[in-house]
C-alpha cells in the first residue's frame, strides 16, 4: 500500500483542480526569463498527466459498480544536474464513497548518471522490481485491473518502498540486467511497524529472436519481516513480444506469463500465476485475453483457489488515449462467482516520458 494522505474537503475534484492549477500557473510566469523577475519556464521539467475513468458493472452487484474517476497520475521528470536524473509519479485517487480523495507518492527517485559502465543506481521511493506486473503504473497495466494472482500474493496495491537499488548489466551475447535493492520495509506486504530491512533482487534476460521478436525470462525474490517471521516472495516471468517493424502501425503481439509465490514459516503459502496475450489486429484496435489462478488462505487449513478469465477489446485512437472494454469472470474465495464488465477511458496530456520496452 502506498502512503496515502487524505485531501479532505467537500470537493471531490480537489485533486484534479490542483493539477489544473499547476498547469495554468506554469505558463503564467514570465516567459522571457526576465533577469529582473528571476523567473523562467525554460528549466521546467517534463510534466504529464494520465487520467483513468472507469465504468464497472458486476453480477452480483458490488460496491464498486458504477462510474468513477479511477486514478489521476501526475508525472514529473527532469535532469537535476550533471549527476542526477529525477522521476516522480504522484497518484490522486478520488474516494468513491465520499468527498475525500487520496494522494500517494507512487514513485519519487533519482537515478545517478555517469557511473562506471553498466552500473546503475537509484535512490528514493520506487515500485520494487518484485516480478513484472508490480513495476507497472496503473495506466500501463495490460488489463484494466491487475490480475487476481498478483493481488492475491502481493496485495491490492503495488509494492513500493523507499530504498536504494543497484544494478549491473554485463556485456554478454544477450541482454542481462542484475538488480539488487534494500528498502525501508514500510510496505503492506510486510510488517510496517517492524520496519525491518526489506531486500531483494531480480535478474532479467532478453534475447532478440529476430528483428521483430524478443523473448524475456526473468526471476525475482524479495525478503522482509511478516508476522514475526521472515517472508520470502519469489517469482518468475516470461514475455514474448513481436511487432511487424516494417509498418508503422503494423500488427503486434505480446504474451506474458508470470508466477508469484511466498513462504512464511508456519503459514500457508500463497501462490498465483497468470497468463495473458494482447494482439493488435488493426491500426487502432487491440484484442486480448487472460487467465489467472491463485491459491491462498486466510488461516492454516483454509485453503482454496481462485480462477479468473478476461477478454479485452481496446480502441486506441492515438498514443495518448484509449478506450478499453473488458469482460471478466472470477471464481473467488468465500464469495459467489462474479461476472464483471468494465470500460475504461485513459488519456495522457503533457510531455509524458517514453516507457521502457
Amino acid at each position: 500500500m502506498f502512503h496515502r494522505h487524505s485531501l479532505g474537503g467537500a470537493n471531490p475534484f480537489a485533486p484534479a483542480l490542483i493539477v489544473v492549477l499547476l498547469f495554468v500557473a506554469g505558463p503564467a510566469q514570465a516567459r522571457g526569463g526576465s533577469t529582473a523577475s528571476g523567473t523562467s519556464n525554460k528549466l521546467n521539467p517534463a510534466i504529464s498527466l494520465n487520467a483513468l475513468f472507469l465504468g464497472e458493472l458486476t453480477d452480483p452487484r458490488e460496491e464498486t459498480d458504477g462510474l468513477s474517476a479511477e486514478e489521476l497520475e501526475l508525472i514529473v521528470t527532469s535532469v537535476v544536474d550533471p549527476h542526477f536524473k529525477a522521476f516522480a509519479n504522484v497518484s490522486f485517487t478520488p474516494d468513491r464513497s465520499g468527498p475525500e480523495s487520496e494522494v500517494a507518492l507512487e514513485e519519487g527517485f533519482v537515478r545517478v548518471m555517469g557511473l562506471p559502465e553498466g552500473v546503475g543506481l537509484r535512490v528514493g521511493r520506487f515500485l520494487l522490481p518484485m516480478g513484472r506486473h508490480n513495476q507497472l503504473h496503473t495506466h500501463q497495466f495490460p488489463f484494466i485491473t491487475a490480475p487476481r494472482a498478483v493481488e492475491a500474493v502481493l496485495g491490492e496495491e503495488s509494492v513500493g518502498d523507499v530504498g536504494v537499488e543497484a544494478s549491473y548489466s554485463p556485456l554478454l551475447p544477450w541482454y542481462v540486467n542484475l538488480r539488487v535493492y534494500g528498502s525501508d520495509g514500510a510496505s503492506d506486504a510486510f510488517d510496517r511497524d517492524g520496519r525491518d530491512l526489506v531486500y531483494g533482487g531480480r535478474v532479467e534476460n532478453l534475447w532478440d529472436l529476430g528483428e521483430a521478436t524478443t523473448l524475456e525470462i526473468s526471476a525475482s525474490a524479495l525478503s522482509g519481516s511478516k508476522a514475526s517471521h521472515r517472508r520470502i516472495l519469489y517469482g518468475g516471468d516470461i514475455r514474448l513480444k513481436w511487432k511487424n517493424i516494417r509498418k508503422t502501425y503494423g500488427r503486434a503481439f505480446t504474451w506474458v506469463t508470470e508466477f508469484l509465490g511466498d513462504h512464511i514459516p508456519g503459514h500457508p503459502e500463497e501462490s498465483g500465476v497468470y497468463t495473458l496475450a494482447l494482439y493488435r489486429f488493426a491500426r487502432r484496435w487491440w484484442a486480448g485475453g487472460g487467465y489467472s489462478w491463485d491459491s491462498s488462505a486466510s488461516a492454516p487449513g483454509d485453503r482454496g483457489s481462485e480462477n479468473e478469465a478476461r477478454l479485452q477489446l481496446a480502441w486506441v485512437p492515438s498514443e495518448f488515449s484509449g478506450l478499453r472494454t473488458e469482460l471478466g469472470w472470477l471464481d473467488p474465495l468465500e464469495r459467489r462467482r462474479e461476472l464483471t464488465a468494465r470500460v475504461q477511458l485513459n488519456f495522457t496530456i503533457g510531455a509524458h516520458p517514453a516507457h521502457q520496452y
Binding site: V79, P82, K85, R111, M113, G114, L115, P116, E117, G118, V119, G120, S169, L171, W174, Y175, N177, L206, D208, E211, T214, K241, K243, I245, R246, K247, T248, Y249, R283, R284, P317, S318, E319, F320, I349, P353, A354, H355, Q356, Y357
Partner: protein, 281 residues
C-alpha cells in the same frame, strides 16, 4: 571509435567521414518508422560501447531514445555530453517550427519543427561538417583525415545534388500529396508543391470525409503523384491515388529502406529517379 547513429543516413555519413577510424552502427533500420522504433534492451548494449551517439534531434527519437540511454549506462552518454550529437543542429532552416500554441489536437506534431531534415541533401552537407568537427574533437589524432574525407564526400554529394536538380527540374511546381508530413524538406529542395496529406493530421489516420475532400482537391489541382514512405499505410495512400487518378510512389525514407539504397547518395538517387519517373536503372 565506436559510433552509434540513430538513423542509417547519419550512420552512412559518419562512416564516410570517419573511414577506418570509426566503427558505425545504426539503431533504426531503413524500413522502420524512426518515430516508433521499439526500444529493445539489446540496443542499449550497442549504446554501451559508443564513444559517440549521433541522433537526428528535433525530438524525432523522443519516443524511444531516452529509455535506451537510461538502460545503456554508458557514462559518456549523459545529457549535455559532447558524446551526443544532434544532427539537425547543423540545419539552419528548420521547417514548420510552431509559432503559436501547440497541442495534440494538431496530431503528432514536433514542437521544435519538422525533424525530417535528411531528406534534403543540402542539409546533409551541413551534417557532414558537423560530424567531422565532432569526430575531430573526440579523436584529435584523426582530425586531418576527418576533414579530408568530409571535403571529399561533400564534393561528391554536391555534384550529385546538381545532377538530381537537373533531373527533377520538370517537377518544379508539381502539385503532390504525401501520406505523412515527412517530405517537406525534399519538396522544398525540388520545388514540389505539397497540396495535402493523406493523414488528416500527422499520425492520425484519414477519415472518410478527409479522403473525399482530399481527392476532390487533387482532381481540381491536377495532382499526379501521391508520395508515401515504405512503412506507411499503402492501402490508404493507394486508394487516394487510384481515385484521384494519380501515381502512388512508395519511397524509402532512409538508407536501407529499399533495394539499392545502401548509402545516403543511393537513397536520394532512388527517390529522385522514382519521382522523375526514370527509375529504370
Amino acid at each position: 571509435m565506436n559510433v552509434v547513429a540513430t538513423l542509417p543516413s547519419l550512420g552512412d555519413i559518419a562512416r564516410e567521414v570517419g573511414g577506418d577510424r570509426v566503427n558505425v552502427t545504426s539503431l533504426c533500420k531503413g524500413y522502420e518508422d524512426p518515430h516508433y522504433l521499439q526500444p529493445k534492451p539489446s540496443y542499449s548494449r550497442t549504446l554501451r560501447k559508443a564513444a559517440l551517439l549521433i541522433d537526428n534531434g528535433l525530438e524525432l527519437e523522443v519516443g524511444w531514445l531516452p529509455p535506451l540511454l537510461d538502460t545503456a549506462r554508458n557514462p559518456k552518454l549523459i545529457p549535455g555530453s559532447t558524446a551526443i550529437l544532434d544532427g539537425a543542429s547543423a540545419v539552419t532552416n528548420v521547417l514548420e517550427v510552431p509559432t503559436g500554441s501547440v497541442d495534440r489536437s494538431q496530431g503528432d506534431i514536433h514542437p521544435f519543427g519538422n525533424p525530417h531534415v535528411m531528406l534534403d541533401p543540402r542539409n546533409a552537407l551541413a551534417v557532414v561538417d558537423l560530424i567531422a568537427r565532432r569526430l575531430a574533437d573526440l579523436d584529435p589524432e584523426g582530425a586531418a583525415g576527418y576533414v579530408m574525407r568530409a571535403d571529399d564526400y561533400k564534393t561528391r554529394l554536391s555534384a550529385r545534388i546538381e545532377e538530381w536538380k537537373a533531373l527533377a527540374a520538370p517537377l518544379r511546381g508539381e502539385p503532390i500529396v504525401t501520406y505523412h508530413k515527412q517530405w517537406e524538406y525534399l519538396a522544398q529542395w525540388l520545388g514540389l508543391n505539397i497540396i495535402g496529406y493523406v493523414e488528416s493530421r500527422p499520425g492520425i489516420p484519414p477519415t472518410p470525409r478527409h479522403v473525399t475532400a482530399l481527392i476532390d482537391s487533387m482532381v481540381k489541382k491536377g495532382v499526379r503523384i501521391v508520395l508515401a514512405a515504405t512503412f506507411m499505410d499503402e492501402d490508404a495512400a493507394g486508394e487516394v491515388a487510384l481515385k484521384a487518378g494519380a501515381r502512388l510512389a512508395v519511397l524509402p525514407a532512409e538508407v536501407g529502406g529499399a533495394d539499392g539504397t545502401d548509402s545516403y547518395i543511393d537513397l536520394i538517387d532512388t527517390i529522385v529517379h522514382e519521382l522523375a519517373g526514370t527509375d529504370d536503372r
